[in-house]
Symmetry: C2
Subunit: 269 residues, 2 copies
């Protein structure tokens, strides 16, 4: 049988493709990857729409029970649902490799990802450099990677998409080390938190990469009916409440006049 | 009423999202952007599946009659279908800006794009730098931009996605200058043509950016049931027939071990 890797898109149960929906309906097991991203609707809505029971796959399950998923796909049709497009996180490539090692057929049904959905801002996709992630600092460890990525992209006039951290109901490192499962409430980094993170590094490095006057675009809930997109300077956007997750942040490089014109429509007023 | 910008995904009529399909069905006019990319199936298949007449929008129509499309959307529901995700080409941002200037409501329904579908190769999306395009040389003019983009990306260890040119039934420059519409047959650049283009520049510049030993990945018909993905050196891939369009080419940067492991499955043998 087959392991179907199916992208769900960004917002609700109807963002799946027609092909994806037909495929889920014929699967015996349906897993939902539930730790690198989340939809804007509850899992029950998907279950109702597919008329299928969904097995929530947290990081622990996918990393430890990948073999079980692959094993099931030897005799049954298994759907592995991923928010956004299928290959955003390394783990899924890993799952596919394991399936191939076991001679299990893998089929991919793609969907949109935040990486191309940001095109709605009017910034041209082929003018983006490497994507970066800003993660919640852990016990005082603030990696400066995002700042360096922005700096290199800017050097070549390129925009930078900064994905903002998601912590799904995971146990703390301390609990995990004790072997205790005690999931903390989920946490989603906001645009302002992302901005403050970068400003702190700027304050330290002073390389003029991310200052109060840098032109940025904040996005929240891309693909949802209540999506919010605001462009402006760092100073202007710092105080804006973007509301519910997920948020992301774009640091602009050189702007073409059509891009400037498009960003005008999203200006903070 | 509303101008709906709807992504179609990469292969056939069922790659549209459920939301996209429901929306097309309620539209009074359905345009299909038909010059920056093409699906793997004929337009008639879409018409049959949607039960709607489709207006083919070539470059000429979109650029000259954008106002007409926007005007229609003032009183009717208009769908503007785009292969892949919605905002891959500047023209569509332009269309949205015109709609906003006329106070026409715009809604976007996203879909996958080759830019994230390449994740199936096992190369990590956040390790890609700027995307580039290799275009058919026109009257001896061979821009070296793709070579320079690859060079800069490599400098930072990043992969480069090279989109390969598509010329849809367009009139020649000579005919256009004479005001004559005389569309030439469509042309799609192949992986080997892309490789040869880059080798010629390497031969001229000799900067060791794209040599016979560079590790690349050739992809054809991503998202289609007969998609073909082969990894190997430039020398190995040069003679491979990737078959029908569309093709694209990835020049790898530094490879992580999971990426190497994934590419092994696509090795030329």
């Amino acid at each position: 049988m087959t392991l179907y890797m199916i992208g769900l898109g960004l917002y609700d149960e109807k963002d799946i493709t027609v092909k994806g929906l037909e495929t889920v309906k014929k699967c015996d097991y349906v897993y939902l990857e539930h730790y690198t991203s989340v939809l804007g609707v509850k899992v029950g809505k998907l279950e109702h729409f597919y008329r299928k029971k969904i097995i929530i796959a947290d990081r622990d399950l996918v990393e430890k029970q990948a073999d079980e998923i692959v094993l099931k796909a030897k005799t049954k049709n298994v759907a592995f649902l991923v928010v956004g497009d299928v290959f955003s996180a390394t783990t899924h490539t890993d799952l596919v490799i394991r399936a191939k090692e076991e001679d299990v057929k893998v089929e991919v049904i793609n969907n949109t990802s935040v990486m191309t959905a940001v095109g709605i801002t009017g910034l041209e996709l082929y003018k983006f450099g490497k994507t970066t992630s800003i993660t919640f600092p852990e016990s005082g460890f603030n990696p400066t990677t995002p700042y360096e990525v922005i700096s290199k992209n800017k050097l070549h006039g390129l925009h930078t998409l900064c994905l903002l951290d998601i912590k799904m109901a995971e146990s703390s490192k301390e609990d995990l080390m004790k072997g205790v499962k005690n999931p903390l409430p989920p946490k989603f980094m906001t645009v302002s938190e992302g901005i403050n993170y970068l400003l702190e590094i700027e304050n330290d490095k002073k390389q003029n990469v991310f200052t109060e006057n840098t032109i940025i675009v904040g996005c929240a809930r891309l693909g949802a009916p209540d999506q919010k997109i605001v462009s402006g300077t760092v100073k202007e956007l710092l105080s804006i409440d973007f509301g519910k997750p997920l948020h992301c942040l774009i640091v602009t490089g050189n702007l073409h006049f059509i891009e400037e014109q498009a960003l005008e429509y999203y200006r903070k007023r």
